[in-house]
């Protein structure tokens, strides 16, 4: 299976271990990722908060580059995914806007490339049975709560992901790796990621609540698929309530016996190695 691949800015810096683990797991599962040629930033929250046209034009350039290839685009970052989906929705539904914005692009925009999440690709295209068959080290003793956050899911008519109030794909991937996925009511609550730099005091409280609720659900870690949630949960959780957070692809690589997890865990702010060692997973 071939996909266009848009890593986005975070996966080259603060979300480095996410980028590396997505790429390694994809390769091991037989997916071929083609990084979009000379891609640029999606504009994230800052563009849509201050300039609507800019927030459509920035993803439009990348969508047009992808349209030339004719492959579905895998986007591991929830924020980029959300901005691509929103821009595509606006361009495909508003003729005047489409005419103005696409006139300034080098490539022809057709709006055909499907924007897809690696969660969905691994869960649906690869499938849980195949994932199970690739597990060499069951993640026994690991009790994650799946944390989806906002941007994969909402607004639900545009994101077209899965049940916006009770998504299950991450939970099911975790179960297929042999982990004991814990159920909780906070999987889609906002962590405040877009305000983590500018309003860190508020955000610490939001993250603290998520950590307390994860503990109450009997979890010993959180699992996420968003570099902004990860940076936020990994940095802003204070005191004894804090739990380690993993990217779901790091745990897939660990269960599949791929080389990399130890290095990636070393990049976390909150060290997950004591937990991993106590469960003899490495």
């Amino acid at each position: 299976m071939d996909f266009s691949y848009y890593p986005g800015c975070s996966l080259h810096s603060t979300g480095k271990e996410y980028g590396q683990s997505v790429e390694l797991v994809s390769e091991a599962l037989g997916l071929k990722l083609h990084e979009l040629n000379d891609w640029s930033c999606c504009g994230a929250t800052s563009a849509h908060s201050t300039n609507f046209e800019l927030s459509v034009a920035l993803p439009a350039r990348n969508l047009a580059i992808a349209d030339q290839k004719g492959l579905d685009i895998m986007i591991p970052c929830a924020a980029c995914y959300n901005r691509f989906k929103t821009a595509q929705h606006n361009l495909n539904h508003k003729e005047a806007l489409r005419a103005t914005i696409t006139a300034g692009l080098d490539d022809n925009y057709s709006g055909k490339a499907a924007v897809r999440s690696p969660i969905e690709i691994f869960h649906q295209d690869i499938g849980l049975e195949t994932l199970k068959s690739r597990v060499v080290k069951k993640l026994e003793g690991l009790k994650p709560v799946s944390y989806y956050g906002c941007l994969w899911l909402r607004p639900s008519d545009i994101c077209d992901f899965e049940d916006a109030e009770n998504p299950m794909m991450l939970d099911e991937i975790m179960t297929s790796l042999g982990a004991e996925s814990r159920n909780w009511s906070f999987k889609t609550d906002c962590c405040g990621g877009s305000l983590t730099v500018s309003k860190s005091d508020l955000v610490e409280k939001m993250v603290g609540r998520l950590m307390r609720m994860a503990r109450e659900a009997g979890a010993n870690c959180l699992v996420t698929a968003c570099p902004l949630c990860m940076a936020n949960l990994d940095m802003r959780a204070l005191g004894e309530d804090a739990l380690p957070t993993f990217y779901f692809t790091e745990l897939m690589a660990l269960a599949m016996g791929l080389k990399g997890p130890q290095n990636w865990f070393g990049l976390h702010n909150f060290d997950p190695m004591p937990l991993i060692r106590s469960l003899q997973l490495l």
Binding site: C9, S10, H12, S13, T14, K16, D38, W39, S40, C41, G43, A44, T45, S46, A47, H48, S49, T50, N51, F52, E53, L54, A57, L58, R61, K94, T100, G104, L105, D106, C150, L151, L153, R154, P155, S156, A164, T188, D189, C190, G192, G193, S194, L195, V197, S198, K199, S200, L202, M206, M235, G266, L267, N269
Partner: protein, 175 residues
């Protein structure tokens, strides 16, 4: 020129906000409502009442985390996050000094690095934000830790076709 309500609806270019019947589902599920000066459903009512100045000066429009919970749960599909983005743009266009200045300064720093390199360079973005806000000592330890781990590279790859990026910023710039 139409009323404030007409202007807002026109810019939203979707469901008219008068469809709100104030069930307050939006405010109940809003993670930021407790720190906002006006709650999401109050913002809708204020637009209808023409309270433009109060809204453009409010902290609420900048504290919204854009989590999109409200619009997902709204029984009438009123797009409050889009409404708030419209109010943010109107506030910037009117030259209002925002109550939550550092939120706006963050967006300026973020888009500034995109404009210069086509992609976000996180260390340069943070330095620009700190210069704008004077908050030099927040997050220094965690920042250094990330730098030492190679997660904040000063030389992350940029977009090569900068002409295309400049064209996007120029053609969407507000006069």
């Amino acid at each position: 020129m139409g009323s404030f309500l007409d202007d807002v609806n026109q810019r939203i270019d979707g469901v008219d906000i008068q469809n709100c019947y104030h069930c307050q589902k939006c405010t109940s599920g809003c993670p930021m409502a407790q720190v906002m000066d006006f709650k999401p459903n109050e913002i809708i009512r204020m637009v209808q009442a023409g309270r433009k100045d109060a809204l453009l000066r409010s902290s609420a429009i900048w504290l919204c985390a854009s989590c999109e919970t409200c619009v997902t749960r709204c029984p009438n599909a009123v797009d409050i996050p889009r409404l708030i983005d419209v109010l943010r743009e109107m506030s910037l266009e009117a030259g209002v000094v925002p109550q939550e200045r550092e939120v706006v300064q963050f967006h300026e720093s973020f888009l500034g690095t995109v404009k210069r390199g086509g992609r976000v360079n996180e260390p340069l973005m943070i330095v620009s934000f700190k210069i704008k806000t004077g908050t030099y000592f927040n997050d220094v330890i965690v920042g250094l830790k990330m730098f030492m781990k190679g997660k904040l590279s000063l030389f992350s790859p940029r977009t090569k076709n900068m002409q295309a990026i400049r064209r996007i910023f120029r053609s969407t710039a507000k006069s």
